[in-house]
């Protein structure tokens, strides 16, 4: 079931990008279902092996990307790992906690992306960082819905064996 969840996240994310409203930020930095799903996987994973779903999500995201293979596999894998490490500091499973934690992970994701682009191309021009940060904010606002959907549809329940907060 978790594999279906991963495929659905990729499919919805890409289809949303294709048909997103023609406004500046919805086209250039739309909220990313895949980013929030990788954070969800980090929050709900019982151990680091289960973070492999985030890496799989990243490999599929690479297929829809102009960037080379490994870019999103690394970014989503690292974001999920970060979510797994910070969740012990998140006070509760409330919606605001999801938003704040997702915002933090999203900002780290933006800077990790900048790191890759800087190493590959020697810098990121064209307002890339501002777009990535706006995307982090918009994705964080999407977090309560994505967390709620994945919790209720139970796609990841069998594969991710932790509720999240007992992991130390």
């Amino acid at each position: 079931m978790a594999y279906i969840g991963v495929f659905l996240a990729v499919f919805f994310d890409n289809t949303f990008r294709l048909f997103a409203p023609d406004s500046m930020w919805m086209q250039e930095a739309p909220p990313s279902v895949m980013l929030v799903t990788s954070i969800y996987i980090g929050f709900r994973a019982g151990n680091t092996r289960q973070l492999g779903f985030a890496v799989l999500l990243g490999v599929l995201a690479d297929c829809f990307s102009v960037s080379p293979i490994g870019n999103f596999a690394f970014l989503y894998g690292a974001t999920a790992y970060l979510a797994l490490r910070i969740r012990r500091y998140v006070p509760s499973d409330a919606l605001t906690s999801h938003v704040v934690a997702s915002l933090f992970c999203g900002i780290m994701y933006a800077f990790l992306g900048l790191l890759i682009v800087s190493v590959r191309l020697g810098g990121a021009g064209g307002g890339g960082l501002s777009r990535a940060l706006v995307q982090a904010v918009m994705s964080a606002s999407l977090a309560p819905f994505v967390f709620g959907i994945w919790d209720r549809t139970r796609f990841f329940r069998g594969a991710l064996r932790s509720r999240g907060y007992e992991f130390a």
Partner: protein
């Protein structure tokens, strides 16, 4: 202790992925499956909706379009071989006339996910003659260039991508000024290195330069939106707004000039 060992192993995996992301120049070989998936799931219903056709008719339409593109590619290749054979036989001198570029229609099936890059993927590839470097247009306006090609799909870098560099000319009232356009992100391009020999005004038209084998000249790039000389060194910083709305097009055309 075991947990730490497992975490270290995961970090090792991340380190390997980072190295791959930094060093690997190519996209996934399995990407060519996705254009077919999107053609089946998204483009056919869209076509049917647009044409007021039934789903069955839309399927036939997509098949016919694909068949037409393959046939056009074969015809172009046969013409090329015929021309070479004629040259070998000494029947004709090498033609210097400009050939009309062959259009290859394709659909955008994925928009770039990475906020640091600007581009998209289209569902036509080597099978219908798409090659790296070819221009992608909407009407007669340039939208981007093909950067890598699979059998059934291609990656396109949009003209406002920060890594985009292309020779252009600005048509002002005092004639054409040459320069190099650089992608500035956020749906804009910037032209530098245009010497202050003529006056460029907002509203002047920008076109591609002739001379590049695979890129035809005189493709409409956009309009000058602002002209500044920030450093007062005689080098103008010209901002160009692309001619096409870069995000709202689902169908684009790849131009095959027949040259390599």
């Amino acid at each position: 202790m075991r947990r730490f060992r497992r975490i270290d192993r995961y970090l090792l995996v991340l380190a390997v992925l980072f190295v791959i992301a930094v060093l690997n120049p190519r996209n996934l070989p399995g990407e060519e499956v996705l254009p077919t998936v999107y053609r089946q799931l998204i483009h056919k219903p869209l076509l049917a909706q647009a044409a007021g056709a039934t789903h069955r008719e839309a399927i036939d339409l997509v098949k016919l379009r694909a068949e037409l593109a393959r046939s056009q590619h074969q015809v172009a290749e046969l013409k090329d071989q015929l021309g070479k054979a004629r040259q070998l036989a000494g029947l004709t001198a090498k033609s210097t006339a400009r050939r009309r570029p062959r259009p290859i229609d394709g659909w955008i099936y994925a928009v770039e996910t990475n906020p640091y890059r600007v581009g998209f993927r289209i569902d036509v590839g080597q099978a219908v003659g798409v090659r790296s470097g070819m221009p992608v247009v909407v009407g007669s306006a340039l939208m981007g260039t093909v950067t890598s090609v699979d059998k059934h799909g291609a990656t396109v870098r949009r003209i406002d991508d920060p890594t985009m560099r292309m020779e252009v000319k600005v048509l002002s009232e005092e004639g054409a000024l040459a320069g190099i356009a650089v992608g500035a992100g956020d749906r804009e391009m910037e032209i530098r290195l245009v010497r202050k020999t003529g006056r460029v005004r907002p509203g002047d038209k920008v076109f591609t330069m002739m001379g590049h084998a695979i890129m035809p000249g005189d493709l409409f790039v956009g309009e000058v939106s602002s002209v500044e000389d920030f450093n007062e060194d005689g080098v103008l910083e010209i901002r160009v707004t692309p001619a096409v709305s870069l995000s709202s097009w689902a169908e684009v055309t790849v131009l095959d000039t027949g040259r390599k």
